[in-house]
């Protein structure tokens, strides 16, 4: 069975939980999106921008020194960090901005946490000559000041969000409020495999190029499939992008690495799958961090892009069905991951991706025979360097 089903559900997860004002638009978007899936012109256009503008395919790079350090694991890095704008986010924003154009929307809005999705959206909007406004929590604006500047350079208006926890969750609330208000002329580019149907499937399909390439590249290099896929999970778009093409390869184990923040038992983390309960946030049913009264908790992670109390519904489904395993590493461990990859391979990963990198040490310890693993290096660390100066040395 292909998921989601006709009503946008992945098992008990997913669906569409939004104010009535958005329902007709989502019906429209769903219709347009599914019709474009088989539209040759659209596919050609999307492929063109991915290749000529974003610089796909990205390399699948054998990290030899890192592999030697890990002993039992042979590690391939899927280099999404090499893409234009520095992270996998551009795959999705190029896809959605092309959908927006087909729907004749003249204004683009988006939420952003780390600023990577905001930059990628501002970039795609500039490329297509569309007006763009980005919602970003003021706390995130401080820790990702460079990305705020980049968005402004790209011509986007950055709207500071001061409500609630002032992070990604609240930025998404504000973006939805804007969307409800300006639904007629505005397209909301959601940055993760979250939100109301059809967003989780649309973002997944635009990011699926990561796994499609990686699978092909790995088969060519190793003449077999990998044993493990490892990716960090906040909302989960880079992980789902890598996992999706391997869904039917039963021998390939998928591991999503959540942010344990200051510890899974500390109440200051973003481990929505490991520590969440089923609930509804931002338009879909998934695993979310919530109180005993059903109020949404404030998440924490050193990586702004993982700092979210929910997760894409398809990940909740993967966990429940056992298709993927989910683990978590702390802020401190993620910093170690960042140093490890920087010094073993000369690649400075984003703090988000550093969660996936450092998990390899744990995986290596559990592994007795030699295994192959693909890690999604979802973004580069340049954006974090400023904030890291005080933390690492």
């Amino acid at each position: 069975m292909t998921l989601p089903d006709k009503t946008g559900h992945f098992g008990e997860f997913g669906g569409r939980f939004v104010p009535e004002t958005l329902m007709a638009l989502l019906d429209d978007l769903e219709r347009v999106f599914y019709s474009l899936k088989s539209d040759k012109e659209f596919k050609k256009e999307f492929a063109f921008y991915l290749r000529e503008y974003a610089d796909r395919p990205t390399n699948l790079y054998l990290a030899e020194r890192l592999s030697r350090h890990l002993k039992t694991l042979k590690v391939y890095l899927k280099r999404e960090d090499l893409l234009h704008t520095g992270a996998h986010k551009i795959n999705n924003t190029l896809g959605q901005v092309l959908v927006a154009k087909r729907m004749k929307k003249e204004r683009i809005i988006a939420e952003t946490g780390a600023g990577q999705h905001g930059v990628a959206t501002a970039t795609a909007a500039a490329l297509m000559g569309l007006r763009c406004e980005i919602y970003m929590g003021v706390e995130d604006m401080e820790r990702q000041a460079l990305n705020v500047f980049r968005m402004r350079l790209l011509g986007a208006k950055v709207n500071p969000v001061t409500s609630g926890s002032q992070t990604l969750k609240d930025a998404m609330n504000e973006a939805i409020r804007d969307w409800v208000t300006n639904v007629q002329n505005t397209f909301y580019i959601i940055g993760s495999v979250a939100g109301p149907h059809p967003y989780p499937v649309m973002v997944r399909d635009f990011q699926a190029v990561i796994g499609q390439e990686a699978r092909r590249q790995f088969l060519k290099k190793e003449k077999k499939l990998p044993d493990y896929l490892v990716a960090c999970v906040g909302g989960g778009s880079n992980a789902m992008g890598l996992f999706h093409a391997f869904f039917h390869d039963a021998g390939v184990r998928m591991i999503g690495v959540e942010a344990a923040g200051r510890g899974l038992n500390s109440d200051e983390h973003s481990a929505s799958i490991l520590k969440g309960e089923i609930g509804v946030l931002h338009g879909s049913k998934s695993s979310i961090l919530q109180t005993k009264d059903g109020q949404i908790k404030v998440a924490h992670s050193i990586a702004a892009g993982l700092d979210y109390p929910g997760v894409g519904p398809e990940h909740a489904y993967y966990q429940k069905s056992g298709r993927a395993d989910y683990v978590a590493v702390t802020d401190q461990e993620a910093l170690e991951g960042l140093k490890l990859l920087s010094q073993s391979e000369g690649i400075i990963p984003a703090l988000e991706s550093s969660h996936a990198v450092i998990y390899l040490e744990k995986l290596a310890r559990k592994t007795t025979s030699a295994k192959n693993v693909i890690v999604c290096l979802s973004g580069r660390g340049d954006k974090d360097v400023g904030a890291l100066k005080d933390l690492i040395y």
Partner: protein, 263 residues
């Protein structure tokens, strides 16, 4: 027939329209909420919507967002709100609907929620982020217990959707007067009358208009076509202006009475 249905039947017989007041339960505290509901009844309010505060109220503008935050600081939750309704029911039979986001209800357990709400004396539930498509279970439970499930139509609702929504909605139909979040507006959309008339062709159920309505003039103008008018943010603003004052309940009720007599 629950209190909401009875109220509309009675109003219809008297050829009157409903004035519906929204307040957030627990802002500034549940004691005041209880007093306000009782005072509203005496001020000519026909139905009260009690807002259940939520951490992420994405259909609400700044006024109700702030109100929810204040209520959450008081650690208000569904259980305490239902206890408050029970206390109100000791003194009043005014129709009461809970306006809540879906997650607190889902987390409480839909069936348990319906049973407890009904037992406490709640007559209806309005959930802005729960479209009919995702409501099957709630509708089934609510129907069995005669708890009204009020659904929305909006300026963007297509004719086909409108048919489905008005069929499923019970108690009344909530027409969202604008594309946007809750909060007072200086000017209301001129299309309200046309939209309400379009819905009326499809149903005999009462159609009430909310979002943006804040002044007596607006209440008066909207009630010409609608069966009821809902005011929220303007009343919350009146509560904020009077919070900390001894005459809070009296002053807010006087403000509400002026709106109520405009229908």
């Amino acid at each position: 027939m629950n209190r909401i249905d009875k109220k509309f039947k009675e109003l219809k017989e008297r050829k009157k329209k409903a004035f519906i007041a929204f307040i957030t339960a627990g802002d500034p505290n549940l004691k005041v909420t209880e007093q306000l509901v009782l005072a509203f009844e005496a001020s000519g309010v026909d139905i009260v919507e009690l807002g259940v505060p939520f951490s992420d109220p994405l259909a609400d503008g700044p006024v109700i967002q702030a109100s929810s935050q204040r209520a959450l600081k008081q650690e208000v939750n569904l259980r305490k709100i239902l206890d408050c309704v029970k206390r109100i029911r000791g003194k009043s039979q005014i129709p009461l609907a809970l306006m809540t986001y879906y997650n607190p209800v889902f987390h409480y357990g839909e069936d348990q929620f319906v049973a407890d709400a009904r037992e406490a004396g709640v007559d209806g539930v309005i959930i802005p982020d729960l479209p009919p498509e995702e409501s099957k279970n709630l509708i089934k439970g609510a129907k069995a217990q005669d708890l009204s499930t009020v659904f929305f139509i909006s300026p963007t609702t297509t004719p086909e959707r409108m048919k489905r929504v008005v069929n499923l909605s019970t108690g009344f139909i909530y027409y969202v007067s604008l594309t946007g979040v809750t909060g007072a507006r200086n000017q209301l959309s001129p299309s309200i009358t046309r939209q309400v008339e379009a819905a009326r062709k499809l149903t005999d159920k009462p159609i009430c208009v909310g979002f943006g309505v804040s002044s007596a003039e607006q209440v008066s103008s909207v009630s010409k076509s609608a069966d009821g008018v809902i005011v929220g943010s303007a009343i919350i603003n009146a509560i904020v202006r009077n919070t900390g004052k001894r005459d809070l309940v009296k002053n807010v009720s006087r403000f509400v009475a002026r709106l109520a007599c405009a229908v």
